[in-house]
Amino acid sequence: MAQSASDFLQGPSQPGGGPEAEGPGVVARTPRQLFWRRFKEDRLALFGGFLVVFMITVALAAPVVESIVGHPYDEQYRDIGTNAFGSPNPPTGSFIFGFDDLGRDILVRTMYGARVSLTIAIVATGVELVIGVFLGILAGFMRGWVDTIVSRFIDLILSIPFLLLGIALSVTDFLGGGEKLIIFIIAFFGWPYIARIVRGQTLSLREAQFVEAAYSVGAPTRWIMFREILPNLLAPILIYGTLIIPQNIVGEAALSFLGVGIQQPTAAWGQMLAAATPYVALGKAWWFMLYPGLALFITVLGFNLLGDGLRDALDPKTGR
């Protein structure tokens, strides 16, 4: 954990001026160097980064492993996959993660599940960031009726129960259903969080001197918004971007768990967990539930650690 002088004082750091001199000689450092120095020290954040990279490689390596192991993700191994009652068989031989309830290889399906989760989460987060940042800056900067409308719209969406309306939407074939609809649902209910944060930041940035300076120079509002304010929002955008991704991953998994997310035969973690549910209460087929669940947990933990690390490195105000 990055130490700061204030750790020792029972009060705020030395009044009148910045914290006591940093390290060997007061050498000016660019924010990026400062960020990297703090981030490098934060082992938990590095561990998070490692988990995320591991999951991305898992997603990319899915077809490779599929060919090595020789089990296509939707191939039903009917003779060895399920027992006489149709229950999935435990791991044996080259099926190291065991079978699902249709005799398919869980290792390969879990890896393909990573693809679905990561693509949907990252694309949905991207869409959320674009809408959220744009409306956030608009509301924060223009204030007046624009701000009221956007804020009230944000309150509206935040008061609608995400899962209920998500399921209702996914039963229609709006946008042709499938992945596009799932991304729309997650993004539609997600952008208000980022919009609210960006609006808050823009409200405070708006008062900053450099904005007034740009104004006095006669820069058009569009320029101020996107050339002056936006660059200063990179830190919060990066932080909350990384923190929203895990929420979206869980969101997609929740929709699949309730049977309305990604449809078969594409593999998705939530869908696999839902299929494993009947066996769980009877203490059977632990592998069917454990591996997709662990994969989901590892991915979400990775992004959370990464997000926390970024937040501490980028704005160290909050002591760890």
Binding site: M1, R43, L44, L46, F47, D74, Q76, R78, T82, N83, A84, F85, G86, S87, P88, N89, P90, D101, L102, G259, Q263, Q264, P265, A275, P278, Y279, A281, L282, G283, K284, A285, W286, L290, L294
Partner: protein, 597 residues
């Protein structure tokens, strides 16, 4: 926080979970169903002590309380104890064949018919009266009054009144004058005549050897004009909420979708009813259960009987492989066939060779296994299920035989490619299944077989059960090419109830159609009409067998299961539990509650 310590801690957590999990037993390999419990293991008695409450766990509610509108096994189940009919199925009879020998109920004896079965007459017993209406109030001029011939006249008039929306009028439109009455050209049905209050005669426009069976259906139960007329006058009759009981129980309380409570009907005289012993005082029927939760409640003896709740998937495996539970699982052929169907009006399924190829390609053994394995009943090889005359056992007739019915993809592919003159079929075809387990897995199994066969553009949809019927299968305009979650159960023991509605060309309707394959084959229609008209006995059976053979060879169906009914009950709480063919359930009116419950 040293991350190395974190990783150790994290690894420990996973190992802990694996150890706790791994020590459990895996799935059993054999799935043998050696010592299953059937009616032979049941000894019935009619001197058990009455009293107590029968607690039933169910999923779906009745479709209607009005006996005329009902057309659902769950509703027939209820009617057995609430509405009596002229003739009915015997009580306390465990032999399935013997259960088909109808006994008199409200009538003195079973139907007396002329030799060509076009006239049937009955005399109504004395001392059979109406009880309380739904909710427990008395109906002036009805409750306590004797059942008379006019009540049956009105009952059949109702069946042909639009506002009532009868469930199966096609069984009774052969009564003379019925069609005219339905069309409004006559103000009564000429074919039904009363001779005084107690004797009634039906004259039919065509012979019907199985008329008594049709009289044993709930729609044929008497309905007093005084109780129902004012409701039937409405645009959409709601007599449904005010039905008057004639059986040993009346409907004390009904919260749709949640709860039905039946109480003893004092106006019912046990002497006049040889089919129903009615041991319990009340029946507490809880609806809306999730299937697995219901099964768990029965396993824990919190509930006594599972109506449309039965062990499936992993729970079935547990019940069958655990001796104490296996003893409480009644298994009998249900007279139902589950099948895939191919719509003959949609290319390429209009081509007989393509249909035959699909019959060979589908892995019925895997569908059966995913459905729950051999316990759920044998793999079907033809249309008519066992227990119904016209049935052809697999050893005798199996036109699309493959090694343990797991499909023969090579020959199927060859036939398919010859038939369509191409490597694959790239046009889109609609495959409609259902989402509730195990139907979702059946859907996936069928989809992968069809893809392997050569269909490259399958558009799949899995609506929630039973929407696949109402929104797709029975709506021709939905252009459902292949249906993977279809099933049909006999109404009564004759093959007519199978082949006529499902294979006869005349029965293809614009909506509410049951002939999903929309097969309109003149030879098929001729065979069905001929069998229907043939007299009961050897001749009729041979005719139905021929029709069954022909229907199977058309390949429009890929039957994959002759279902066993799996009735889970609490042997600790109830006895005298035997399988009752007519309802594909147990005969609840003759169940007794153990005293120490």
């Amino acid at each position: 926080m040293k991350s190395s310590r974190l990783i150790k801690l994290f690894a420990l957590l996973t190992v802990l979970m694996l150890v706790a999990a791994a020590c459990g037993g895996g799935g059993s390999e054999t799935g043998d169903t050696g010592d299953k419990r059937t009616n032979e293991d049941v000894t019935v008695s009619d001197e058990l002590n009455p009293g107590g409450t029968l607690r039933i766990a169910g999923v779906s509610d009745v479709d209607y309380m009005d006996p005329a509108s009902q057309y659902y096994t769950v509703s027939f189940f209820l009617s057995r104890g609430v509405f009596r009919t002229l003739v009915t199925y015997p009580g306390n009879v465990t032999d399935l064949a013997a259960q088909n020998e109808l006994v008199p109920d409200l009538a003195e004896s079973t139907g007396q018919s002329n030799e060509d079965f076009t006239e049937w007459s009955y005399t109504i017993k004395d001392g059979v009266t109406y009880g309380l209406k739904l909710g427990g109030e008395e109906v002036a001029g009805v409750t306590g009054e004797e059942i008379v011939c006019d009540d049956f006249v009105y009952a059949f008039e109702r069946i042909f009144t639009a506002s009532v929306g009868a469930g199966y009028p096609f069984y009774y439109d052969i009564i003379e004058g019925a069609k005219e009455f339905q069309a409004g050209d006559a103000d009564s049905i000429s074919g039904i005549t009363c001779d005084g209050d107690k004797s009634i005669t039906f004259s039919l426009s065509e012979p019907a050897g199985d008329w008594d069976f049709r009289m044993a259906m709930p729609a044929a139960s008497p309905v007093p004009r005084a109780a129902a007329e004012k409701y039937d006058k409405k645009e959409d009759s709601d007599y449904d909420r005010h039905v008057v009981a004639t059986g040993p129980y009346y409907i004390a309380e009904w919260t749709p979708g949640e709860q039905i409570t039946l109480e003893r009907n004092e106006y019912w005289d046990a002497e006049t009813d040889e089919a129903r012993l009615a041991y319990p005082d009340t029946v507490d029927w809880k609806l809306g259960f999730d299937n697995d939760v219901g099964v768990q409640k029965i396993q824990d003896n919190e509930y006594d009987l599972g109506l449309d709740v039965s062990p499936q998937g992993p729970a079935l495996e547990e019940w069958v492989t655990t001796p104490e539970l296996n003893e409480r699982l009644l298994q009998e052929p249900s007279g139902c066939t589950r099948y895939l169907f191919l719509n003959t009006t949609i290319e390429p399924f209009d081509n007989q060779a393509v249909r035959e190829a699909v019959n060979l390609a589908i892995d019925r053994e895997n569908i059966k296994r995913v459905f729950g394995g051999p316990t759920t009943g044998p793999i079907a090889t033809s249309i008519v299920p066992p227990g119904i005359d016209g049935h052809l056992p697999s050893e005798e007739f199996n036109p699309f035989e493959t090694e343990n019915m797991a499909g023969d993809m090579e020959t199927a592919k060859q036939m398919f490619q010859e038939a369509i003159g191409a490597e694959t079929w790239d046009e889109p075809i609609k495959l409609i299944g259902a989402s509730d387990p195990p139907h979702d897995r059946i859907f996936e199994s069928v989809r992968s077989d069809l893809e392997e066969l050569g269909f490259t553009n399958i558009q799949g949809k899995t609506p929630k059960f039973p929407n696949q019927y109402t929104q797709f299968y029975s709506v021709p305009s939905s252009e459902t090419a292949v249906g993977s979650s279809a099933g049909w159960c006999k109404d009564y023991q004759s093959a007519f109830t199978f082949l006529d509605p499902l294979f006869h060309g005349d029965n293809i309707l614009e909506s509410g159609n049951q002939n999903y394959a929309e097969l309109n084959d003149p030879e098929m229609n001729r065979l069905i009409d001929e069998a229907a008209a043939s007299p009961l006995g050897e001749e009729q059976t041979a005719a139905w067998e021929a029709a069954n053979r022909y229907a199977t060879e058309t390949g429009v169906w890929i039957p994959w299961s002759w279902d066993n009914d799996l009735i889970a009950y609490s042997s600790e709480n109830i006895t005298n539990v035997y399988y009752f063919g007519f309802h594909s359930q147990v005969d609840w009116v003759n169940i007794a509650i153990n005293s120490e419950q």
